[in-house]
Symmetry: none
Subunit: 263 residues, 2 copies
């Protein structure tokens, strides 16, 4: 079992500040179902003495993490504050999917010993933004930064399948390749979305096969694809099933690291 956010710290650790932890944990009580709490409710729920809870809540409010709605002298409610909007947005802007995905890609690369790629969309094209090479003698050495049309290769196709319909249509219109039938492409994209992964055989390179799974962000949008590729002969039978399962898990782990939550 691979846990992808290994916590280094135990709660009782001396090297932490207990007050900070107590305060931050209070924020978790403010959920979609229970967005409002009174001092008394929080104190009971968190098993803290009322004055302690009071001071923690007041501190959180002072910093904008909570909002206090005082309706009368002895009826105050707390809600999450707008400071969290600001910070949440900052995180979203700062997330560099490459950095987050890299360790997981390396792990997957060691396990499968095949080339692992991270692919995104920009300007109607697929772009390989990172890779981990396999250690095999005969190996695929794709260049990071390579651009590719969205209809060719497992990663690009997967991304195309998850584009908004209008964007997808725009891309499909640009396919001028004589051998490609756009109605068949559409059918395949539909299948890719349904089965949750994309397969390509000999599309990017002769004799190589690729398998891709989607990476989701906290908004449940597909932001990238993780692709495993190598010699077609190594992508058959039980081996293929194993590659698929490992890749699916890795994509899931990276998604979680990006804040994706299944609810």
């Amino acid at each position: 079992m691979v846990s992808f956010s290994l916590l280094n710290h135990r709660e009782g650790d001396i090297k932490m500040n207990q007050s900070v932890i107590k305060a931050l944990k209070l924020l978790d009580y403010f959920t979609e179902d229970t967005p409002e709490w009174t001092l008394k409710e929080i104190a009971i729920r968190a098993e803290l003495p009322k004055p302690t809870a009071y001071r923690l809540l007041t501190s959180l409010e002072y910093c904008g993490f909570l909002r206090k709605i005082k309706q009368s002298e002895h009826d105050s409610r707390y809600q999450l504050g707008v400071k969290l909007l600001e910070l949440g947005h900052r995180v979203a802007d700062q997330i560099e999917i490459r950095k987050i995905a890299k360790p997981f890609m390396e792990q997957l690369g060691e396990r499968l010993n095949e080339a692992i790629h991270l692919v995104t969309v920009e300007g109607g094209q697929a772009i390989y933004i990172d890779k981990v090479d396999s250690h095999r003698a005969l190996r695929l050495c794709t260049k990071v930064g390579k651009r590719s049309p969205l209809y060719s290769g497992s990663g690009p196709k997967l991304l195309l399948a998850h584009l908004q319909e209008d964007e997808q249509a725009t891309v499909l219109q640009t396919i001028s390749h004589p051998f490609i039938d756009s109605s068949r492409v559409k059918a395949e994209l539909k299948l890719i979305k349904e089965q949750g992964f994309a397969l390509s055989e000999g599309e990017q390179d002769v004799d190589t096969t690729g398998v891709s799974y989607p990476i989701y962000d906290y908004q449940h949008s597909v932001v990238a694809a993780i692709a495993v590729s190598g010699l077609t002969s190594r992508f058959e039978g039980d081996n293929l099933l194993r590659i698929q399962e490992e890749t699916r898990k890795t994509a899931q782990q990276i998604s979680s690291a990006l804040g994706y939550q299944i609810n």
Copy 2:
């Protein structure tokens, strides 16, 4: 009704937990320009002893508010953590007007191809609670969650103009800016109320102009402002008239969706 409550707490207050405040303030150092900090940098910047900063950072990391990237034994960097994404999203979900306004904002954004913002009042300040970016190369990228004084920018000014008289007076008293003449501000606020919209040129950013219209709820209270902003050169002549007309309509649509009815 636009809620209005001035902050009740001073920093030195006994009724707060200093450790919590110190920790939360550290998060503010992680901006777009400086998204990464080492322990040493944070300790210097926050003027805290290294071990103290260390424990605060470790506690924040333990709760997912920070992410530690340990590259080697003596090279660790901290970034904002995905927990903030989760909490930010929870706050966003709790602001109902966002959900209602979003589709209309997107529609307006497509029509005008300029940045659209949704602005409200809290704690005597304007807060940008949502945005739709334009697709132009040169575009305004304002941050959601940003606070701004109520006398600067079309959205804030419009909200200020529609505050209750006593609240408006309180805000105007806090204006200590040497170049701002409060009697002229009052005159402008009166005009804004009369003409039904607010204009700002170069107030939030040099070279940008903003146009704002009020959003009313079922009680006929102004609950938010919708603001369109972009390069001043694009806000002139017939173009400005078109922007005003489209924005006015959108504000009207959102108001209707909130239950506002003209009798």
